[in-house]
Subunit: 314 residues, 2 copies
């Protein structure tokens, strides 16, 4: 069945049913899908946190190299990752779909199901959106969150003397993309959500800057340094590159360091902590995620110890 | 100059500068453009209102038939109209841009300037967004607003006995589109923002349902009736069709009633009020907009007195 067979309102009705099956609307949802806008309620002492992200056919995903469900799951994780980077809890999201009328309905529904699966896992209700025809398929996700007043994590808080950390491992998304481009296998990797880690971070004393790794460690670190007016010394030997990953890169003829530094779409958190920070194992317990110390913030400009390029559009 | 000449971050920097020139961030903006997400603060006793809307090349606009500035102004008015329909005050908006790298930078900037002009006029600061390449140009606008708790206007509040009203005039957007399609002139019409009217309505006793007219009066009225479980009797002779509009339709060979009922993109408000509602002239003073009574809500299903079709996608 094609999208044109169910029409704009048919698609919206199907998505609304799927969203409802995934459990009741969140406690903070006063009015969900179906009106001109959604109405959400924050708790006392909270600020609203808002971000949007897009997944475009042949730019962020290819029907050929990943299943609709994986495409959807990755799109949601990518969007909600910005809330993690702010230390916010998710309160809802909206989905704007643009797609050709001749597109298979199953593809759109598969993507939406993937998004809803990830959204449900982090208790983030779908509260609205938009549907339009277009020549190519794209999804624009706007995520809404709440952070304690004055506790949202920012990019501009890195100070000389801070230690630099990342969660998880780096380069896996880029590796799978490279493998899929070489015809090896469909992409199946879905980055973990670091919402819990971000919220735990926002409660830590001495937290400096935080950003999520969407463009690649080097490009995103530069955003932090530029916003904070500082430099960083990074030790490439300390980057979290599992041995299995390094071996797989060798088999594929790829440089693991390049994938880790410039690959992008890891959606791990990069953050800085003052010298009074807890040790790595205490941090891992607090954040509920693997943590690696990769360097430190120093006075000056730019990144020392590394050379590679992030991913930019255009 | 083309989009690819300034790149993703160059475009973002230009938009951020333009947004800042348009005046300081709103009082409720804790953190605006430039971080992973924006942080906004509501006032006490308010709920968050959230909606998104898209403007896609060759679906919602054509470069040939309207200037970039008009395209942008219309896109913003269309998006913020959903806040008007909820009786909310705007607190911020995000803009997701998808565009081909070879697109003229001036076109994108013209659109953004048009959006910013309308946003500034209603004190709604641009707080974030996303930029990606794509084969065709589209803008996805997410508007954030605040409504007094329990006072947001909804579609499902129409009750038998309610009187049905619309603000402004109907069919002008459809008329200009038809004229542009027939090669007559570029579209210049920008619908008015009904934010003030929506907020005034949300404070009125006896207010029933409210919706903004995006798909055409008939389609949008049906949304209200379906959500409210009621019917409506509409008097076509009372629809707000100015004489000049009727004459212009005659010259163009178009049926003014058809444009008014099914044309869409008027972004006027359709609302219902209980029998204790003030008279039309008192209403116009309260709402700060022209108001016309066009019928009433009755028990049953569907629309009586009219027959035409709204505009749907696919």
């Amino acid at each position: 069945m094609k999208l044109r067979d169910v029409g704009e309102f048919g698609l919206i009705a199907r998505i609304a049913r799927r969203a409802q099956r995934k459990g009741r609307a969140g406690a903070g949802v006063v009015l969900g899908i179906g009106d001109d806008a959604a109405v959400l309620r924050l708790r006392g002492g909270e600020d609203l946190v808002s971000s949007c992200d897009a997944a475009v056919e042949n730019v962020h995903f290819r029907w050929r190299t990943a299943s609709p469900r994986i495409i959807g799951r990755r799109a949601f994780v990518a969007a909600v990752s910005d809330l993690a980077a702010m230390g916010a809890r998710p309160i809802g999201w909206t989905l704007a779909i643009a797609a050709p009328p001749a597109l298979d309905l199953a593809r759109v529904q598969g993507c939406v199901d993937g998004m809803l699966a990830e959204a449900t896992a982090v208790a983030c209700p779908l509260v609205g959106g938009n549907v339009t025809r277009a020549r190519e398929t794209s999804f624009t996700l706007c995520v809404l969150g709440a952070a304690k007043r004055g506790r949202a994590l920012r990019r501009d808080g890195a100070r000389p003397g801070d230690r630099v950390f990342v969660t998880g491992v780096l380069g896996r998304a880029a590796f799978e993309r490279a493998r899929a481009e070489q015809g090896g296998a469909r992409e199946r990797y879905v980055p973990p959500s670091r919402l819990g880690a971000g919220r735990a971070l926002s409660g830590l004393r001495g937290v400096g800057a935080c950003i999520d790794l969407s463009d690649g460690l080097l490009a995103d670190l530069r955003h932090v340094l530029s916003a904070s007016g500082t430099a960083a010394e990074i030790d490439p030997a300390r980057l979290p590159l599992p041995r299995g990953f390094v071996r797989a890169c060798a088999r594929l003829g790829r440089n693991p360091l390049r994938l880790a530094l410039g690959g992008g779409e890891d959606y791990e958190l990069l953050f800085t902590l003052g010298s009074s920070a807890p040790g790595v194992s205490a941090l891992e317990r607090r954040l509920g995620a693997p943590v690696t110390e990769i360097g430190r913030i120093v006075a000056g400009r730019g990144v020392r110890g590394l050379a590679a390029r992030g991913f930019t559009h255009f």
